[in-house]
């Protein structure tokens, strides 16, 4: 029987887990490899709910999270809360299809790849991103935002023009948007308030948070939410200077408030999932021109502010390993999806804490013995000397059989160093 932590003092456990992770990030050897997870809807499966159930009922979302945390006893938890179904519906949010909103009840949400800013609008974004968002971008992504196109552009006004332009607030479309947004605001507030209470409950039960803030690689943000994948790639050739200028601007905008937010919740881990910098999607030269410099700057800025960036390198990033070690040692977590962690340990083991990467294929379709063997190998090789956090390559996939996930979670105790 693998020993569990259930009977120990939660405060002591909390401190022990916080220190275990901090020491691991600092590349020190610890009593055992930590286990952390994030998930989307596996919790729902565990609690015999559909994905839709947890998207439309925050209490169900919370109870399914609680069940997962108590079962897996992670060293830190990422509360999966997507209980914003009603808010998304009310807003009529276009970039996403979700369980209950265009997608089946038992699947994950999916973003729709689309061009939401045309190349000619780079200058508008660069000149005044707020005006561009209010007047053009937001109305494109949700019906509930449409009236905002009438919102006065105050910095362009002076003297009595400020008063004259208040007439915009008599516009029925703007008023309608405000009404919608006030309702949506209440819905989001309800969900987040409940989830905040739950997070406190879990902290008191001895579980630290895995994520205190969220940020994006600037190029990813431009591709994912402005230009679309095709536009973002073509702009490397057609609008190179504007793209680079926008990457710089987006970096400054995206980093605003991240540190303050993380400090407010008392968790230094800032999650940055990467989408377009992986092998195959762009050349090493393109990576070093459009992707890595701004991301590297973000990582450095976060570290300077005493945050710990948690970078999820999606896909295979083997050819990137020679470049991405250029960060302060022992200050960040690199979570790899398909990149071989043995190789990565050899290349980056002295620089950055590694995390991953039990494959989704194994978690979803393998046996418990196979999961155990895989985790044992990771713990023994990648975990040697410290600097490794065990997790799934894509954390816990929604479809993974419960026994396989439990095997992964327990393996850190089963194959502990000491």
């Amino acid at each position: 029987m693998t020993p569990k932590d259930s009977d120990r003092d939660p405060k002591e456990l909390y401190q022990e887990r916080v220190e275990r992770i901090a020491d691991t990030v600092a590349l020190k050897e610890t009593d055992r490899v930590p286990y952390i997870y994030l998930t989307r809807f596996w919790n729902a499966k565990l609690a015999d709910m559909t994905s839709k159930d947890t998207m439309y009922d925050v209490e169900k979302s919370i109870s399914s999270n609680r069940k997962a945390i108590e079962l897996l006893q992670p060293d830190a938890f990422g509360a999966a809360n997507y209980a914003y179904g009603q808010a998304l519906e009310k807003l009529d949010y276009h970039p996403l299809e979700w369980p209950g909103g265009g997608a089946a009840d038992d699947v994950c949400f999916q973003y729709i790849d689309k061009e939401l800013m045309v190349p000619d609008e780079y200058d508008e974004y660069l000149f005044d991103p707020t005006a561009f968002y209010l007047q053009k971008y937001l109305p494109r992504i949700a019906t509930g935002f449409e009236g905002l196109k009438h919102f006065p552009n105050f910095p362009t006004l002076s003297e009595w023009n400020i008063i004259y332009n208040l007439r915009a607030f008599a516009n029925p479309e703007l008023q309608e948007s405000f009404k919608t947004l006030m309702e949506v605001g209440e819905m989001v507030d309800h969900s987040m308030t409940k989830m905040t209470e739950f997070i406190k409950e879990m902290i008191e039960a001895g579980y630290p948070m895995a994520i205190g803030g969220f940020c994006k690689a600037p190029y990813d943000h431009i591709v994912d939410f402005l230009r679309g994948s095709k536009g973002g790639m073509l702009d490397m050739f057609r609008h190179k200077d504007k793209l680079l200028e926008t990457i710089d601007k987006a970096r400054l905008l995206l980093n605003t408030n991240v540190v303050e937010g993380a400090k407010l919740v008392g968790c230094p881990y800032v999650f940055i999932p990467l989408h377009w910098g992986l092998d195959g999607f762009m050349s090493p030269d393109q990576f070093n021109e459009f992707y890595w410099p701004s991301l590297r700057q973000t990582i450095h800025d976060l570290i300077d502010a005493e945050m710990t960036p948690v970078i999820l390198w999606e896909g295979d990033c083997t050819t990137r390993l020679e470049f991405i070690g250029d960060i302060p040692p022992g200050k960040a977590i690199y979570w790899f999806e398909r990149t071989d962690l043995h190789t990565t340990k050899d290349v980056l083991g002295d620089v950055v804490c590694l995390r991953g990467n039990v494959p989704p294929s194994l978690l979803n379709t393998g046996t418990v013995d196979e999961v155990n063997a895989y985790c044992k190998d990771l713990i023994e090789y990648v975990g040697k000397g410290g600097g490794f956090i065990l997790d799934g390559a894509a954390s816990i996939t929604d479809e993974a059989p419960i026994e396989n996930v439990v095997a992964m979670a327990e393996s850190v105790r089963k194959y502990a160093n000491k």
């Binding site: 299809e97 997608a103 089946a104 699947v107 994950c108 999916q110 729709i112 790849d113 994948s229 095709k230 790639m233 073509l234 490397m236 050739f237 057609r238 195959g280 999607f281 762009m282 050349s283 393109q286 295979d316 999806e337 398909r338 494959p359 989704p360 294929s361 194994l362 979803n364 379709t365 393998g366 390559a393 894509a394 996939t397 929604d398 479809e399």
Partner: protein
Amino acid sequence: MSNEKHEKLVNLIADMEEDEALTLTQELIDEGAEPTAILDICRAAMDIVGQRFEDNEYFVPELILAGEVLDQMSAMVKPLIADTTDEEDKVDSGMVLIGTVHGDLHDIGKNIVTFMLDVNGYNVIDLGVDVSPQAFIDAIKEKSPEIVGLSGFLTLAFDSMKETVEAISEAGLREEVKIMIGGGQVDEQILNYTGADSFGLNAMSAVNQCKEWIGEAA
């Protein structure tokens, strides 16, 4: 390629010089160049682009730009020619039916594979995203492809791929087609799980697999 300008145009396309390539295309059209000669130039350029992609000199952005240039050149040339289209040329080529499996809306990987198969001369029929097993079966019956490509980015695609392969078997069509899978987290284990014939990690492996199964396209 005997004509110096033709050779130059091939290189401009292959070197991602979009504006210059389109200007020269217009110049050639104005000079009375045979439209079919321009289409031959496109094919020659795409051979180079495909080779550079295979050699890891080019990546997805170059493929997308090359596709854009080709589309624009085709649009410039098409009004000048009777419709002896590529589709007819490709009737004797290998036919590949491709789609993103049920429940998954991602299409970037599928589109890249489709593009690379297309420029390698295969007749590709793209069923789009969120394609049900029945839609694959209907299309196999109607089009009789040699190869079916199942794409998926999300992990839910593992089961959708398995269901699709099983449905194709149950419809009595499994012996008629080779099935390849790819995208996202697909690997050897998922190949075994789904019962497909092959998996690939990128667009070139899809092209090479098609070549292995049905030979070079016409």
